[in-house]
Amino acid sequence: MWRRYGDAIYTLVTFAVFGFETLALGALSISFLLGRTTGIASTPVEGVLLATLTSTASALALLGFFLLGYHFTSTLRDRWHVEQLDAWTERWIGLALEDTPAEQIADGSMPRRLPRAAVDAVLSLLEVVKGEEGDRLKAVLARHGVDRLLLRHLRSGHLTARLDAIESLGKARLPQAFDALLGLLEHPKPVVRRMAVRAAAGTLATMTPEPGPEGPGGRFTAALKGASLKSGVAQESLLLLETRAGAVLRDLLAEPDLGDRLRWVALETTGRLGLADMAGEVAASTTHPDPELRAAAFRALHRLGSVPEDTHASLLDALRDEVDFVRVQACHAAAFLPAEVALPALEPGLGDDSWWVRRAAASSMARLGDDGVAAVTRAAETHPDQAAREMAVQILLEAGVLDPAGARLVKGVA
């Protein structure tokens, strides 16, 4: 029941063991019986022993047959379900691709309440197609009341039923379930909040955009701000928004009272998605009092590959930030400043106490064209700090400017 693989072997082994035990005990029982008839097993104790043996043998035989019967029935049922699933899949594909007219699909053979296989098949297809084809399948769910049933299950007292409904709605991406899913972001159980935010994000990704706080994007942003979600969960939900992510991220980053954790998530996601037109919104966090957020903002700018001009000053300040991981990210982002500004600002980083800062500074310098490579080469030969010289040589090696022999030579000169 709980195993996914090896059911057949398990059944055969168990049946063989039970069968052997049953035969042995049966033979023993028969020999006792024969003994009784011939007067060998005539005492009450032997009678009790005989009854015990017989009942044990019968119980084992019953269990063995039950086990066989159970697996036989399960296999048949599974096979039947797969056949049903295939048949319904074919039927729904016909409808989605308009091979089969809707009237033909909705003929007398269609049950009013869709069987489980039919619902599973349509949900599986909705995980794969969207657009007009997806809309046709969503209409099927609405026509047969599946959407209303799932919405009812969202309020179920049973956690399993509720989670199943959320999962199904996440696959179906039904706009009519969007607000109900957002409502679950306040649920006390983290698993419900997590599944609900994923389902809501997937649904929003397919909904028609409407601007303003009353639009679906605005409602999602408001719900996300009020929800207690782990950073990874919030970030995943933002990624699931696909093309709608930009608008939601812009709203989040423009919010002055946004919580630190969600701001960090928004900065990270903007960087990961490479939304280059949002460099301005990201740059606003480069002077945030929280060093984690300053670092996240510089990391995002580095990923976006651009530093707005009005952020140059704060970036140059951050190269001397008191927190080393902020300096690291600032060094990375400085690769996108003009070389004449970046090189003199990055050079002190080569002698930083932190290995990570030295590495980030040298690697950004090497990315700043010929002047940058020349500056790193100079540092490799003449920098007063040995750690800086070694880092510069390492970066030149990695960039292919030096080969191992050249690196040894430079180290020798230095």
Binding site: D86, E90, L126, E127, G134
Partner: protein, 148 residues
């Protein structure tokens, strides 16, 4: 053996979900593609590639056993350097780094599930056109190479 009419193109679909395979087959069939082979077992992908010599591969990324990355890795040695064999990734994984990894592993384009039928067909058409243009140019490039 080379086909040059897009609708005759040999298309191989590799996806562990039967629903996805059936749907893609039907979409392609409806659009006039007549030469489609598919498998739900990624272990068979390389053998099918050898046998079928596809012009385009539609590949899922997350599959049990051999995943899409491993399939691309195994195909890498079989695809000649001077040929353009497009691999179109179809996946529900929305992580940007996965997309980058797939593209650097040899995929030529990327479509996220759930997909739009028109978009998938356009991408398939574009990739096939590029392949056929590349195939037409290859003899010319080879003769230019010999001349020089």
């Amino acid at each position: 053996m080379e086909t040059l009419r897009p609708k005759d193109a040999r298309i191989l679909v590799v996806d562990d979900e039967r629903v996805n395979v059936v749907l893609l087959e039907r979409i392609l069939e409806q659009d006039g593609y007549t030469n489609v082979r598919s498998t739900t077992k990624s272990e068979q992908a390389v053998a099918l590639y050898d046998e079928f010599e596809p012009d385009l591969i539609l590949l899922d990324l997350h599959m049990p056993g051999l995943d899409g990355f491993a399939v691309m890795e195994r195909l890498e040695d079989r695809i000649a350097r001077d040929t353009f064999l497009p691999i179109l990734i179809l996946t529900a994984d929305i992580r940007p780094e996965v997309k980058r990894r797939a593209l650097s592993a040899g995929a030529k384009d990327f479509v996220t599930k759930p997909f739009d039928r028109t978009e998938v067909l356009l991408r398939i058409q574009n990739l096939l056109e590029t392949r056929f243009l590349h195939m037409r140019l290859r003899p010319e490039l080879a003769s230019e190479g010999q001349a020089t």
